[in-house]
């Protein structure tokens, strides 16, 4: 489904990814974990086209999308929920959704069923929503792009605990849908391993461990990350 092959990327002269390879199978869910500064967000930005590749390839269903711009990758089926609960703060919640759904009210109703808390906030400016509400809006807006491959960058980061559970539930449901592949970056290792079938540990821009999220995965990951 999504395949990153020997991805090398840099900010200016500073190389941050040194040949990272990973595969997210069709309908599967893969987690990427690692400490701050390991290159997790850079890896996702490279996958969606926000960070140009120095070398390597990004394949979606076998098609090389490395040279496509981010909006073209979105149209091919890559959905991206960026880090930091990003929304268009000057626009209302409804306008944020209409940006993608246009006049398709049924599609908007569908994502509002997933995030019912947003129903009462449709007329409120997104910049005035709480962090948790903005994150729900961010995921809802991304789902409206009808992704086949969903990429989530720390969806529970910096969110009040009562909303974290809600977001974890939605992310876990999405990974179990079967028609959606998920690449999840998450600081919260326990949640990341519960919600996915495979994991990769990233350190200093390299994959240092990977495996299946079985019974001993959490201990294995923590052991690698403690080094």
């Amino acid at each position: 489904m999504l395949e990153l092959q020997d991805v090398v990327a840099a900010y200016g002269r500073t190389e941050v990814l040194h040949g990272v390879s990973l595969t997210v199978p069709a309908g599967g869910a893969t987690a990427v974990v690692g400490h701050n500064g390991a290159g997790k967000t850079s890896l996702l930005r490279a996958a969606v086209g926000l960070l140009p590749l120095r070398s390597g390839r990004v394949l979606l269903d076998g098609e090389d999308v490395s040279r496509l711009r981010p909006h073209q990758r979105v149209r091919r089926g890559i959905g991206y929920v960026p880090q930091g609960q990003q929304s268009f703060g000057q626009m209302t919640t409804l306008e944020n959704l209409q940006l993608v759904a246009r006049r398709d009210r049924a599609a908007i109703d569908e994502v509002l069923d997933t995030f019912p808390a947003l129903r009462d906030l449709l007329g409120r400016r997104a910049g005035l929503l709480s962090g948790g509400q903005r994150q729900q809006l961010s995921i809802a807006r991304t789902l409206l792009t009808r992704p086949r491959m969903l990429i989530l960058d720390e969806p529970t980061e910096g969110i009040q605990p009562n909303v974290v559970a809600e977001i974890e539930r939605v992310v876990a449901d999405l990974t179990r849908r079967g028609d959606l592949s998920v690449l999840l970056v998450e600081q919260h290792v326990g949640f990341a391993l519960r919600a996915t079938q495979e994991y990769h540990v990233l350190a200093a821009g390299r994959v240092v461990a990977h495996g299946s999220t079985g019974d001993h995965a959490a201990a294995d990951v923590r052991a690698v990350m403690a080094v």
């Binding site: 969606v48 086209g49 926000l50 711009r69 981010p70 909006h71 073209q72 979105v74 149209r75 991206y80 960026p82 930091g84 609960q85 990003q86 929304s87 268009f88 703060g89 000057q90 626009m91 306008e95 209409q98 940006l99 993608v100 246009r102 400016r125 910049g127 005035l128 929503l129 709480s130 962090g131 903005r134 807006r141 991304t142 792009t145």
Partner: protein, 294 residues
Amino acid sequence: MEVFVSQVFTGLSAGAVLLLIAVGLTLTFGQMGVINMAHGEFLMAGAYTAYVVNLVVGDAGLGLLVALPVGFLVGGLLGVVLEASVIRWMYHRPLDTLLVTYGVGLVLQQVARDVFGAPAKDVPSPSWLSGSVPVLGYDFPMARLFLLLLSVACLLAVLALLRRTALGRQVRATVENRDLAETVGISTRRTDRITFFLGSGLAGIAGVALTLLGSTGPTIGASYIVEAFLVVVVGGIGQLKGTVIAAFSIGVLQAFLEYATSGSIAKVVVFLAIVVFLQVRPQGIFAVRTRSLA
């Protein structure tokens, strides 16, 4: 009282011209961070369009009505050509774009000089815009009233486009967060080009409108561009309501100062007032308010 009202009205109509130019700049400067010094030359192109259309049509009234949409198209197309040929290679290099577009402006001025000659050209005003109309007991020149209404109509059209259409939402999204806009499927390059067309087209309309107030020369745009940028900065970059308030405030302030002193002194005082204002409020009248940094 009569002097007060007439100066307010003169100031509002001067502000209306500034507004037409500045709305276009707000879109391009606010969205793309491009300091386009050639924006004034799109205004000049609009003014010469009015001159040419008038020659072709031969009727001042019909000529004006035809020149407004044609001026919009000419200004808009010039903007798109500039964006596609020069500016798109220089995003994120504001000082370079400032220098390059200043150079492009000089070239366009020289082209106008070569094509139309150095002497200023007069475009006859339609008969239905001559004379004055009584408003609140005072006589106001029809041409200035038309300018004011045209400016408000263009502003409302831009607002409707930005607030009510899918294209408008895409423009606002791109202004606010370019990367995020790309990741929800918006082609920001296409949006940039459309925005440049709109902004430059509005300058073209302003150029057509200016022919109602005076003659047209190659440097007509250059004389407005600095003030128009000041309107954008004072209003708050990318903030349309701030642009409206700033344009009319500067127009009215200048009208009163010109009445009390002279044109040159009025300009100096207005510039000084803006410098002081920006010291106190560098973000302009309005700034983006949000709970997030996004």
